[in-house]
């Protein structure tokens, strides 16, 4: 599904990712944890194609395609989805029209006809139930005046509508209360299947309790320094990142 090989990326001349490797198979959920400034959000930005990040070395293969050759919209049409840490408020753009345009752009790319109004509304209805999002939000301007929780739910709702092959959840749990977290996590779980994969970027164990990742990676100073199963996340929660840094230093000293 996704093969990241020795990626180096910088912003404003400062190198953030320093040789990152990651291999994700269909159906897998990977959690990426790590201290602030380690490169988690940079990884999400590089994958989504944010323009001010410069990839200086390495390759990213997304389902047989060279991802670095694709524009952000082409990546999305190929099945990549980024749930933003801070979803953007866009006054004047109706949420429903926006989603309809996005869905039909993807269908066009796949050679499918646009959804007619009836089919679109039917899908909307199903997916709004999935993430328990208030329908009145969808007639409003995109994210405008939405609460933090509503914005995050709207992200998962869009994910449900677009059915991506690979979804990246960038700190989707931040700023959510317990109920909202449960709803968002349930939504994500229902979207999981053997064909699609998810990268969960988070600081906390609580979202992982719901999602039960297959792998947990620790990203420190631009590299994945430790990978393991979901038990690694529990260990991190208990001990913090210091024990990893210490073991790294010990290794370096030897």
């Amino acid at each position: 599904m996704l093969k990241i090989k020795d990626i180096h990326a910088s912003i404003d001349g400062k190198e953030i990712l320093k040789g990152l490797n990651l291999d994700i198979q269909p159906g897998e959920v990977h959690a990426i944890m790590g201290p602030n400034g380690g490169g988690k959000s940079t990884l999400a930005s590089v994958l989504a194609g944010r323009e001010n990040y410069e990839v200086t070395a390495g390759t990213i293969d997304f389902d047989g395609k060279d991802m670095l050759d694709l524009s952000p919209e082409e990546r999305a049409r190929e099945g990549l989805f980024l749930a933003f840490q801070y979803p953007v408020e866009i006054p004047g753009v109706s949420t429903t029209n926006f989603i309809k345009t996005a869905v039909n752009e993807k269908r066009k790319h796949l050679g499918q006809p646009p959804l007619d109004a009836v089919a679109f509304l039917k899908t909307m209805k199903e997916k709004t139930a999935l993430v328990e999002i208030d329908k009145s939000l969808l007639s409003r301007s995109l994210n405008e005046g939405f609460s933090g929780g509503e914005k995050k739910r709207n992200e998962i709702f869009q994910m449900a509508m677009l059915e991506p092959k690979l979804a990246i959840l960038d700190e989707t749990d931040s700023g959510l209360d317990i109920d909202a977290l449960r709803i968002v996590a349930n939504g994500v779980n229902q979207l999981r299947n053997e064909h699609n994969s998810i990268i969960v970027i988070t600081h906390y164990q609580r979202l992982l309790d719901y999602l039960q990742p297959d792998f947990v990676h620790v990203l420190v100073e631009g590299k994945i320094v430790k990978s393991g199963t979901k038990e690694l996340a529990l260990e991190l929660e208990e001990k913090g990142y210091d024990f990893i840094k210490e073991s790294l230093n010990a290794t370096a000293a030897v």
């Binding site: 524009s71 919209e73 980024l82 979803p87 866009i90 006054p91 004047g92 753009v93 752009e105 993807k106």
Partner: protein, 444 residues
């Protein structure tokens, strides 16, 4: 360098004055022509014209009289320029700046609305109304252009909306200008009196035929009485050789409500003066504008709100999307006179530049002589929000579609202010069509 040519106007003026010796407007015209000769065409040293250089338009001679054009041809052009909703509107037509009653059509009777030529009104029972209210704008605009219009007042329009009448059929005013064979100077003039508790919607639309240059130097004066409501819309999408200087001078003489929307989409040099004079306490006025321009179009929205009495409210909201070599100007003056305590006056101007050669000049001017007032102004000039663009693109929406979506969103809150439904839809369709990506590259 060529200089401004105005001497031919002397002869035109003499001809007009001789045509009808005891014309009611002869004295006014003579006075105003004197003012014109003294003031001349405003240059860039005139503070009010700093960003709009009008001199170039006066380096050629214009024809002022209407041509005896083929009526059928005129009718055809008129039909072509009609706006949606016209079947449900009172339609008034100016041809080359002269009121053409034979092309106009009214749906309402005299009990609600009296519409006649300005010269007829100056001679009938409305004589005093005309005398008292005509040319009050000259107290505020002292440049040569307003005086030039007044120097040639002949066949304008007079509209009286009678007391308590709610006019549900809007008044569409069409300006049809013929620049096929000659450069044309059209000088439409109108006086509109809206009596107590009346309501009216006025729409102006412009169309120039031919490839020669035209300049419409227009003056409209509107007097709004107690409890009256006036909506005023100006739709400008004329050809690049058609320039325009228009003054809409609105006096709120009783506590009343005024709502204006100016949409500028195409043309040569366009100057829109909108003056709101708050002559009574408790007045309310809202002024909106959208300029979506490209190539060499120049649009200058020049507003004035004069608060002379307490408790008046005004809100100005103008937005511009500027591409190519086009220029947008917003200049908003607010006076708060010593008696005008508790004035609320707000002003906002937002611009998006789409090319490196697009220009915008924005200039708020607040002159406040009272101490208990709330006034604010703000302006922005920028490009589309890159974060919003990126967000849309990560959902599979292409760059050009994403840009169009954001620009449409930017203009939508002005378009929403057009309260005549078919007109709003019409403008919306044009704006959307202009913003949608066109192959091979995005062009407005």
């Amino acid at each position: 360098m060529e200089t401004v040519i105005t001497s031919y106007l002397d002869k035109k003026f003499d001809e007009l004055q001789k045509k009808d010796n005891d014309n009611k407007f002869a004295a006014l015209r003579a006075k105003e022509f004197g003012r014109f000769q003294k003031a001349g065409i405003p240059g860039y040293k005139n503070e009010e014209w700093k960003y709009t250089f009008i001199n170039n338009l006066f380096k050629k001679e214009y024809k002022l009289d209407t041509i005896d054009a083929d009526r059928a041809a005129l009718q055809k052009e008129l039909t072509a320029m009609k706006l949606p909703g016209s079947e449900n509107a009172n339609e008034l037509v100016f041809v080359d700046g002269h009121y053409a009653p034979e092309l106009s059509s009214l749906l309402l009777d005299n009990g609600q609305l009296n519409i006649s030529s300005l010269s007829a009104a100056a001679n009938n029972e409305y004589k005093t109304l005309v005398e008292e209210n005509l040319n009050q704008s000259s107290k505020y605009i002292t440049d040569g252009l307003l005086a030039l219009n007044s120097s040639f007042i002949e066949e304008g329009i007079f509209i009286l909306v009678k007391k308590n009448q709610v006019i549900d059929k809007p008044i569409y005013i069409y300006h049809l200008n013929n620049a096929v064979e000659n450069n044309l100077l059209a000088q439409p003039r109108s006086l509109i009196i809206v009596e107590e508790s009346a309501k009216v919607q006025i729409v102006e639309h412009y169309h120039t035929i031919g490839q020669m240059d035209s300049l419409a130097n227009e003056v409209m004066e509107i007097v709004v009485k107690e409890n009256a409501i006036v909506e005023y819309y100006k739709i400008q999408q004329d050809s690049p050789n058609a320039s325009q200087v228009g003054t809409t001078h609105i006096r709120q003489v009783g506590k009343s409500f005024v709502h204006t929307v100016t949409i500028s989409l195409n043309g040569g040099i366009i100057r829109n003066n909108i003056n709101i004079i708050m002559e009574e306490a408790g007045n309310e006025a809202h002024m909106y504008g959208l300029y979506l321009i490209k190539e060499n179009t120049h649009v200058d929205n020049h507003t004035l709100v004069d608060n002379t009495k307490p408790n008046c409210f005004s809100n100005e909201f103008y937005k511009g999307i500027i591409d190519g070599h086009a220029t947008g100007v917003f200049s908003g003056k607010i006076y708060v006179r010593p008696d005008a305590q508790k004035t609320n006056a707000y002003q906002s101007n937002k611009n998006i530049l789409l090319s490196d050669t697009a220009t915008v000049n924005t200039k708020p001017q607040l002159e406040i002589y009272a101490d208990d007032v709330k006034c604010s102004h703000g302006c922005t000039v920028g490009q589309l929000d890159p974060e919003a663009l990126f967000y849309l693109r990560t959902r599979g929406i292409g760059l050009q579609d994403a840009q169009a979506m954001l620009l449409q969103a930017f203009s939508s809150d002005i378009l929403e202010q057009i309260k005549i439904e078919p007109l709003r839809k019409y403008v919306d369709t044009i704006v959307t069509g202009r913003l949608l990506p066109q192959e091979p590259a995005m062009a407005l």
